[in-house]
Amino acid sequence: MKFVDEFRDTEKAKTLTKAIHEIARKLEPKLTKPLQIMEFCGGHTHTIFRYGIEQMLPDNIEMVHGPGCPVCVLPMGRVDDCVSLAENPDVIFTTFGDAMRVPGSKKSLLQAKADGADIRMTYSPMDALSLARKNPDKEVIFFGLGFETTMPSSAFTVLQAEREGINNFSLFCNHITTVPTIKAVLDSPDMKLDGFLAPGHVAMVIGERPFDFIALDYHKPIVITGFEPLDILHSLWMVLQQIEQGRSEVENQYTRIVQPNGNTPALEAISQVFEIREFFEWRGLGSIDHSGVRMKAAYAAFDAEQKFSVPNLKIADPKSCQCGEVVKGVIKPWDCKIFGTKCNPENPMGALMVSSEGACAAYYNNGYHEKKTA
């Protein structure tokens, strides 16, 4: 496939791996601990595991798999809210497939569907809008989740519903924002990270500048990164070069997609429909200030939180979970007491075991639970 195959080239991957090993060798005398580089985005985590990139890296470079998996960080209480909305007999509840298996305190959406609720997986929020057109006697709710990458699609769909007067469509808005979340990770007292791979598709929407604070205020190198294996290796090499040269800058490896100022129509649609919430609750990370958005009052007619009664109960994470520490790179997944035993992909207790993009599920699926029991 064009723009994909070229970025999976084995020869170039070998070259980059060699170059990374070379810088790591040069840095070694100065290091008191392995360098920890965080890939924030679950999409990057997926590529890293799929292509075995960690195995290609020198021992003094560790990848820390960040919290950028929207399905993983969805609190149980929000899943309960979805189930409650979906169990309304007048409602067709639509969602991306990823969210179906996320456990709530009583059941997941998949279990609610089995129990008779009308829940449908859609590829796009536009498909949910089509369902609303076709079913005027039903209320169609779309479960909007994800970072800034997915936010424009929800915003454009709401704007389209308004233009066409499709009043039986609404959005259950659970979108989250990247910058406050990275800031929360950086402000944590036990944080030991040395650099970041920034989420390429978030940057495609918001541009390069929102990441400046990481370089300027926290003096960490950060490279905006694409999603193919060569992109990841190339960006790692760029981060290491910054470390070796004593620089901390925002650099863009993913120039074929990311413009310095982001995407103007997308940003306009976002600011038209959404506003920042004072705080948002995360699974595994607790409450983070300004880390979510809600719909503006002007769009209340398309806001499921306004149209329906949402229980909005706060359900505490299981006490045994150590997702927060894993996400910050303080412990490895297999250091968690319940990793692979009480918490596994079939029966996830913690956020990071929920989706294949979560760090714990990725390690588990690659045989690391055997490492723990061995």
Binding site: M1, K2, F3, V4, E6, F7, E11, K12, T15, L16, K18, A19, C41, G42, G43, H46, G68, C69, P70, V71, F96, D98, Y123, S124, P125, M126, D127, L145, G146, F147, T149, T150, P152, S153, F156, Q160, P199, H201, V202, M204, V205, F227, L230, H234, Q253, T255, R256, I257, V258, Q259, N263, T264, P265, A266, A269, S355, E357
Partner: protein
């Protein structure tokens, strides 16, 4: 969740609603093109564009020159490395 896939726009299906058909490795589907339309790049100019498709939206045009430039950087990195290795071998 945040992944996207490259596709090529081959037909505008509804100019008013900003809908177009995209071909992703032989799979064809309708996508919204609001993110790639501007005064400098009107709806009709989008036919033939390579775009990144995410949840039914063409989120960004793919810059072919930049893609080539990134690959060129990696190519050159390989050449430099070969030369360094040759030098190291020669010094032994």
């Amino acid at each position: 969740m945040c992944l996207g896939i490259p596709g090529q726009i081959f037909e505008i299906t509804d100019a008013e609603r900003l809908l177009a058909k995209v071909d992703v490795s032989g799979v064809k589907r309708e996508v919204n093109i609001a993110c790639i339309v501007s005064d400098d790049h009107p709806v009709n100019a989008c036919v033939g564009d390579w775009v990144l498709v995410h949840v039914g939206f063409a989120m960004s045009r793919i810059d072919e020159d930049e893609a080539a430039r990134t690959l060129q950087i990696l190519e050159e990195l390989g050449e430099v490395q070969e030369e360094l290795e040759a030098m190291q071998q020669g010094a032994r």
